[in-house]
């Protein structure tokens, strides 16, 4: 709970640039290690060859894209039920990041699909539901952009966030529920990963690199959003 309090609007304004700068240094280190490991040290796959290396970008991006929207959805529920304003500011600052990651996931997946499947894109359940997630991100961001009144934008975007939440289990389990061209998950909670450890390690390092990147951009955006919110509030009083 104490950690959570750091995200309160009054606290985030005290966030020093030093914190961000040290996170950037950490990102540089983890990213260099992750990229060297995944692009140079890790072995090619026995059947895909070197195109397996796309996975080290694709899988963490997809994971983060889903995670971000999960957070936005939960924040939207809290926001609508308990009327906690800063929840929507958290979600609002997270949305563009998740949107970019979902786009990265779709584009890298497409680059992988061409040499592996023999096609850039198919309308199977996994790919389609992922494209829908991207559209939900766009819709969420656009409501904040085009609705001027904070109260109305807040309500509309929260509803979009909650509806989009239903899409997440569909994305996650699409490969198990229906026949899809996309393969099922290699890493599951219930059984041992079907991915060799020489490939799993760089995947995990790249995942951490992307999480740190997410954190940096999020903190900067959130601080800006809180400032903007406070300035608007002050303007309305005057």
């Amino acid at each position: 709970m104490t950690m959570f309090k750091n995200f309160f609007p009054s606290k985030i304004l005290l966030l020093k640039n030093k914190v961000i700068n040290s996170l950037v240094v950490l990102l540089a280190i983890v990213l260099v290690i992750g990229l060297t490991y995944s692009l140079l040290i890790s072995p090619p796959d026995y059947i895909q060859g070197d195109s397996v290396r796309i996975m080290y970008i694709h899988v963490p991006s997809s994971f983060i894209a889903l995670g971000c929207f999960g957070f936005i959805g939960i924040a939207s529920i809290c926001n609508l039920i308990f009327k906690i304003k800063f929840m929507s500011l958290l979600a609002k600052s997270l949305a563009p990041i998740g949107c970019v990651f979902s786009l990265i996931s779709i584009v890298t997946g497409s680059f992988w699909g061409k040499p592996t499947w023999g096609t850039w894109w198919v309308w199977d359940a996994r790919l389609t539901s992922m494209a829908i997630l991207f559209l939900f991100y766009i819709a969420y961001i656009l409501t904040w952009k085009f609705i001027d009144s904070f109260e109305r934008a807040n309500k509309t975007s929260s509803i979009i966030g909650i509806i989009g939440l239903f899409n997440l289990p569909i994305i996650k389990y699409s490969v198990d529920w229906w026949n899809t061209l996309h393969q099922p998950s290699s890493i599951t909670l219930t059984s041992a990963p079907t991915i060799h450890y020489t490939m799993l390690i760089p995947l995990i390092i790249m995942f951490f690199a992307m999480i740190i990147y997410l954190l940096i951009i999020f903190l900067m955006r959130y601080k800006t959003e809180v400032m903007k919110f406070k300035i608007d509030k002050k303007k309305n009083y005057e």
Binding site: P43, P44, Y46, I47, P115, A125, Q183, S186
Partner: protein, 142 residues
């Protein structure tokens, strides 16, 4: 504790969620045919209303030692380890197409046992490993 207003909002959201899940569930169930990307040979065997004129997709594993290449076409068998279907194809194969691996063929059924494909996609499974490990695995299996 929670105020009456908050409680009613929780109740409302809960109710709407259940309704939404039900709607999604029934929508997908009725759209099953469109959501499923391909049919397995067993699905085709069991189905009574197979469209012979419409394009469909068949998926499964390429049966080992079944690929026969002639000058004009490639013939192979798709199996799901239960039922089989013969596929005839004339065109480029994806690089990852090989015996014992997953495949999805798009085209039209001639009859329940014979499929004429106009597009072949390779399906990758969830296993990732370096070539040396694969060799070692094969050795220990033999």
């Amino acid at each position: 504790m929670l105020s009456k207003k908050v409680k009613s909002r929780i109740f409302f959201l809960f109710f709407v969620s259940i309704l939404a899940v039900a709607i999604i569930f029934f929508t997908f169930r009725s759209l099953e045919e469109n959501v499923v990307y391909f049919l397995s040979p067993t699905d085709i065997y069991n189905k009574t209303d197979i469209p012979f004129k419409k394009k469909i997709r068949v998926g499964g594993l390429v049966k080992i030692n079944s690929v026969k290449k002639s000058e004009t076409s490639i013939n192979f068998i798709i199996t799901d380890l239960n039922k089989e279907i013969i596929v005839s194809y004339n065109g480029l194969l994806p690089n990852l197409f090989s015996e014992g691996k997953g495949v999805v063929a798009e085209g039209k059924l001639k009859d329940k046992k014979y499929f004429v494909a106009d597009k072949i996609l390779a399906k990758h499974d969830e296993n990732y490993m370096p070539p040396e490990v694969k060799k070692a695995l094969e050795k220990s299996n033999n």
